[in-house]
């Protein structure tokens, strides 16, 4: 009785045709019809074993056995070949995986960098959280760009003033700076529609600016007080004009502040109006939801106040230009810019001060 080493093979080489399919895209067709070998066994050992077996077997019936032996040898060779190819494919696949992993790490780093620079990239995960965080970053980035552009325009204006440029030239530059100021008001309006608290809290400003700000920005009347002292000489008419403007601005600021106080008080009353009934009763829940709905409505009016504060700033600057000559306006804008520059520098110095 002759053993059939070839038929033993399926048991010994338990593959992995499933495994094999995973290793490569184009390899499936090639190997499915073949009996594949696992890579775990040393092919040489196997073949020696089988050669020995087949040698031990095919002794008596020479012609039949020699035909069997040939086909056995051929199949062994085919198996070796299959095993070799399988090993190569596995190696290629692992290499591919390694490359993909590296690429993935690189992409993650790029994504992180882009997000930090304020590029909005949506996540498949928590959309709302990421969107608002990116909204803040987006505004902060836009504001940084605006500041850079503002510095450039101011430097142009400064050069022109120092070189005693003509009035028409100055006028153009003054108008450029003023128009650019209006750009930031627009930016803030859009940003506050998305996230009013970010603008109101002034987190996009330096700490010293934030401390002394009013309704999301500078207080126009204070700015005018600053200028009146530095812009001398002013004519009687101009002094009156500046004084009246300061007074008007002060009145409007007070009115808006009173409205904000009323809003805060109203909100506090809404939130404080709890019932003293038993916990968890349906009346309480309905009450709570009603309270929250009302409070939400009130919060919704916050961005209106920001809008009017910026409107006041815009109108005040515009009126200031009407009262002053072109040259005075130019100097005024430079003074305003320098004041805020110093305030920002103060913030940096303060933050960097040595502490005990």
């Amino acid at each position: 009785m002759c053993s059939q080493p070839v038929e033993l093979q399926p048991n010994l080489f338990s593959t992995s045709s499933g495994q094999h399919e995973n290793w490569g895209e184009s390899n499936m067709a090639e190997s499915s019809s073949r009996m594949d070998t696992s890579t775990d066994l040393d092919p040489d050992d196997k073949n020696h074993k089988f050669d020995a077996q087949s040698a031990g077997v095919g002794v008596s019936d020479s012609s039949d056995k020699s035909k069997e032996k040939t086909s056995t040898l051929r199949r062994l060779a085919q198996n070796r070949e299959a095993a070799r190819k399988s090993r190569l494919r596995k190696k290629a696949y692992v290499q591919q995986l390694e490359n993909s992993r590296l690429k993935l790490t690189q992409l993650e780093q790029e994504l992180q960098r882009a997000r930090q620079q304020g590029v909005f990239i949506s996540n498949s995960g928590d959309q709302s959280h990421v969107r608002s965080a990116n909204g803040e970053l987006a505004f902060d980035a836009e504001y940084a760009r605006w500041t850079e552009e503002q510095n450039k325009l101011i430097n142009e204006l400064r050069t022109a003033v120092n070189s005693h440029a003509s009035d028409p030239e100055l006028r153009t530059l003054v108008d450029n700076v003023t128009a650019h100021f209006n750009d930031v008001f627009r930016l803030k309006t859009n940003a506050s529609k998305a996230d009013v608290f970010h603008i109101l809290s002034g987190m996009w400003k330096t700490p010293a600016e934030r401390c002394f700000m009013w309704l999301g920005g500078f207080r126009p009347s204070e700015l005018l007080k600053l200028l009146a002292n530095q812009l001398e000489p002013l004519t009687e008419q101009q002094l009156t004009g500046i004084y009246n403007l300061r007074e008007s601005s002060q009145q409007a600021e007070d009115a808006l502040s009173q409205g904000m106080d009323a809003l805060q008080q109203s909100l506090a009353e809404t939130l404080a109006n709890g019932t003293s009934g038993p916990e968890g009763s349906s009346g309480n829940v309905a009450n709570y939801m009603g309270q929250m709905a009302m409070a939400m409505g009130k919060l919704g009016t916050l961005d209106g106040f920001l809008r009017q504060a910026d409107n006041l700033r815009e109108q005040t600057l515009q009126q200031m230009h009407r009262v002053l000559t072109t040259r005075q306006s130019a100097r005024g804008l430079l003074l305003i810019h320098d004041y805020f520059s110093r305030l920002r520098a103060l913030s940096s110095l303060w933050l960097a001060r040595p502490r005990e």
Partner: protein
Amino acid sequence: MEIVREVARKNAAVIFTKSWCCMCHSMKALLYELGASPAVYELDQHVNGTQMEWGLRALGCCPVVPVVFIGGTLVGSAEDIISLHVDGSLKHMLINAKAIWL
């Protein structure tokens, strides 16, 4: 619309508000500061409030409060009031309509 025009005609200065509207509070405060005593119509409290609100919307007022009329003329919303106040026009309008006296 008629009821709104009636109200505007009868008063030197009128402000339409809603009781919970804090911007209305601000604009009232500004007018008082200037020495005016505008007639205040709270749309959510007044018996003809709904009619008046329709009238204001028909005139294109958005937001519908606060809205100010001086001397029978529509001045506008908070944005308009602040703009006119800054350049001094608001005070002149109030004086002309005899809503304030110097």
